[in-house]
Amino acid sequence: MKIDLTDTTASKINKALVKGRRAIGTPAVGMVLTMVIVTDEENAYDSIKAAEDASHEHPARTLVVIKRHARSPRDRTKSHLDAEVRVGADAGTGETVILRTYGEVSDHADSVVLPLLLPDAPVVVWWPVNAPEVPAKDPLGSLAQRRITDMYAVEQPLVALEARVRSYAPGDTDLAWTRLTPWRSMLAAALDQARTKIISAAVESEAENPSAELLARWLGARLDVKVDRVVTAGPVVTAVRLGTDKGEIVIDRPEGPLATLTLPGQPSRTLALKVRPTSELIAEELRRLDADEMYAVALRGGGTKETPRHV
């Protein structure tokens, strides 16, 4: 069910949510968190879709904040808020409210979002594209326990990476890091099997790939070795090589979802390493809402082997 509201306020939106829920006959609220998506019109559709898919695992109220720019200068000064309320089958397993802000209210989006947060439930903010310079200090970001950015989706990923390093606060996380989980878990499993000291390491990827950079920094910090970066044609991360006394441990994924794992003294075998869709990444992010300390370690890279407790 969809309810359109023009030139509205947060309290009218709240009323519409209650009305929508009553209309579909489920007055109980089984949602576990509020997800705030801050995006532009261009990326809104894909992000909402990903959030709705993820809501099957984590029923959520999704608030989508879209800043609109009016065409004429006169309209630009006029401040107003439009909302689209979706409940029931139109909104995954939760509720979705799409907020379009015009004019001055765009700078005070937090005043609209705050009354719409679920009581007592955690808040997650996700910027699918352009994240603020310091997410934790952003008016919307400061409402959240978890702030999700995506360095892969910006013009200059490595510049964004440096910005993330400077601005890190507990609760920050990035989808470029989330994408690495299968790689990292396979590397850890390979090392469980090899049980030997690593003396060198290399990460191969396409140029300017922030995930590869994070992977290299994480390996450097954890293994205490210098990690070489090799640029290949991609796609994304193509291989990781860990050198040992007895030979190399290699996970090689030249193309497609099928990788090969080679351990010293053992025949190579295949591994499934799929590039996951955004909805799965978001679902993984929502599984734990406490600070991701290992992400901080990966951002900082070598030098800090201990997990920092407070940053």
């Binding site: 576990v32 850890a188 499993a189 469980d192 099997q193 025949p267 075998r269 290992m294």
Partner: protein
């Protein structure tokens, strides 16, 4: 979980004057570290090698089973095709199996490895929970082997040993194997002895060999002990995993979370507030094609001895000192050992057999008319028993356990029914429609929890009636929670025995059931009940004697 509160369970009745201890956040990573240690210990390290890529603070990394393989006996059976093989695939798809994981099938079929792979492929496609992905399949398929043969066939077991050794070399399974006996129980001794004879049960230095068996774990105390003797002769008692798939279910694990991670339930979880507990497992199907297995066993041995007594132990037990196999076993054993049978078994136990009738719009035949059943059979398809737990917490609170086939609908639930309020300021007409408060844990289907309490009916007069507050799993957490078998197979490979009943529990459970079966064996015949109903009238009478009635689940 348990480290969040250090209040001993015995203090629950004390007034909550002293502030509860603050949950200690720091304790959690330590726990994870311990788990990681235990996991590494599994790999049999002589040195203290720590994997630098693992860190207890890194909680994204799933606990992947170490290098290992699974050998399934009776791989052509229903359970294997519908549950085990799809579960293995789902695990692989979720990235929880180690690279090089190998699956070996053993059965009396003239198959090649490829034929076996095809059978697995089909069963995965039909029954897996997660989507079928070619690359995951390819990873799995490379490690599949099939050994044709009889359980008597020495040559086949030699071949199995060769296959295991070949896999160690070609897939790096490091000698770690779990042997899953998905075969009728009469073959258990044969198979494990063959494993022993051919040196398959002996783990090489630094690796493990585990035996996995399905119920029934014997049919009385004597046979259970005999079975345990046979198994423990071959496998270390710690390396025998008894599958009770109910314990792998999310809701069942949630009983512990509900009770011991929360503050609001435990204070009322005792005889001062609870009137009685009903544990029900109802099936809407008959015995189907299982006549050979079922006749002579019956529902009490089939269900009460394992599933229901386990659910009861989890509901009634005290707080374990830690969430590990040893502590859980200790607490569950205490409950099972303190179970007291009613003095008059005739008054407080009931058995029944389904008669012909209409069930859910279908006409069905009675138990005695089923194919392969002796028309004189006195096997029970319905059983209800009253048990008491003789300890301070539960003295005088009856636990009613019932199970049956061809009942109204398929449901498993634990209902904790509370006493009525000792005093009501409302007049009796206002509370006429008010029943007893209850917490119902729905184990299956529609996993979740219901709390039942009284609420004012909107309007000008004061009228109070029962309402329910519902927590559904599908709603608040994952859309499809992992299948019980997924969890259990992974736990076997990880060597985590939390969710597996130990042989002591099995023996204690038989000690509870044996006297009841003996009584039934010498007194009367099972009562007949219409298919599609909620059991024989005798069962209703049994509760009426205590001034109670069964909940309609």
């Amino acid at each position: 979980m348990s480290d969040e509160s250090t209040l001993p369970a015995a203090t629950v009745e004390a007034p909550a004057a002293d502030a509860p201890p603050k949950p200690e956040q720091a304790a959690k990573p330590e726990k994870a570290a311990k788990a990681a240690k235990a996991f590494e210990g599994d790999l049999g390290s002589e040195d203290d090698w720590d994997n630098p890529l693992r860190d207890p603070g890194d909680r994204r990394l799933p606990l992947i089973a170490g290098p290992s393989g699974l050998v399934i006996f009776g791989v052509t059976g229903d359970l294997s095709r519908k549950k085990l093989m799809p579960a293995v695939y789902d695990l692989a798809n979720r990235g929880l199996l180690p690279p090089g994981f190998s699956l070996v099938g053993f059965a009396r079929r003239d198959w090649e490895d490829e034929d076996f792979a095809q059978i697995v492929h089909d069963s995965v496609r039909d029954h897996a929970r997660t989507e079928f992905r070619e690359e995951v399949w390819q990873q799995l398929a490379e490690g599949m082997r099939f050994i044709p043969g009889d359980f008597d066939d020495d040559a086949a077991f030699e071949q199995l040993r060769a296959a295991v050794e070949e896999l160690d070399a070609s897939r790096g399974t490091s000698g770690n194997y779990a042997f899953y006996l998905s075969v009728p129980p009469k073959f258990f001794p044969k198979v494990v002895q063959q494993l022993k004879k051919h040196g398959l049960a002996n783990a090489p230095e630094g690796s493990w060999r585990r035996g996995v068996i399905e119920k029934p774990f014997g049919h009385n105390l004597k046979s259970a002990r005999e079975l345990n003797r046979v198994l423990h002769d071959v496998f270390d008692p710690e390396q025998v995993f008894r599958i009770d798939h109910y314990l792998g279910k999310e809701t069942v694990q949630n009983i512990l979370a509900l009770r011991f991670a929360n503050q609001m339930y435990e204070p009322v979880w005792n005889r001062s507030y609870v009137d009685h507990v009903q544990i029900t497992m109802a099936e809407d199907i008959g015995i189907g094609g299982r006549a050979g297995y079922y006749d002579g066993i019956g529902s009490a041995r089939d269900v009460i001895q394992n599933h229901l007594l386990q659910l009861m132990a989890l509901t009634a037990m005290e707080e374990p000192i830690a969430f590990d196999a040893e502590s859980l076993l200790t607490e569950k054993l205490k409950v099972l050992k303190s179970v007291k049978l009613p003095e008059d078994l005739g008054e407080h136990t009931v058995r029944g057999q389904y008669a012909a009738g209409w069930q859910g719009g279908e006409q069905v035949s009675g138990y005695l008319e089923e194919d392969g059943i002796d028309p004189q059979s006195s096997t029970d398809t319905y059983a209800a028993v009253k048990l008491e737990v003789d300890n301070r917490r539960w003295a005088g609170v009856p636990f009613y356990l019932r199970t049956g086939k061809r009942l109204g609908r398929r449901v498993t639930e634990i209902a904790v029914v509370f006493q009525r309020a000792p005093h009501s300021p409302f007049d009796s007409t206002a509370t006429e429609e008010l029943g007893a408060n209850a917490i119902v844990i729905r184990v299956q289907p529609d996993e979740g929890m219901t709390v039942r309490f009284g609420s004012k009916v909107p309007g000008t007069s004061m009228e109070i009636r029962d309402v329910t507050m519902d927590f559904a799993y599908g709603e608040s957490f994952t859309e499809s929670s992992p299948e019980a078998y997924e969890r259990l197979i992974l736990d076997v490979l990880l060597g985590d025995a939390n969710l597996f009943p130990r042989h002591q529990e099995v023996e204690e459970s038989w000690k509870i059931l044996d006297p009841i079966e003996e009584y039934w064996g010498t007194h009367g015949r099972p009562a007949q009940y219409a298919s599609g109903s909620w059991g024989p009238e005798e069962a209703d009478e049994m509760l009426a004697r205590d001034g109670r009635s069964w909940r309609r689940p």
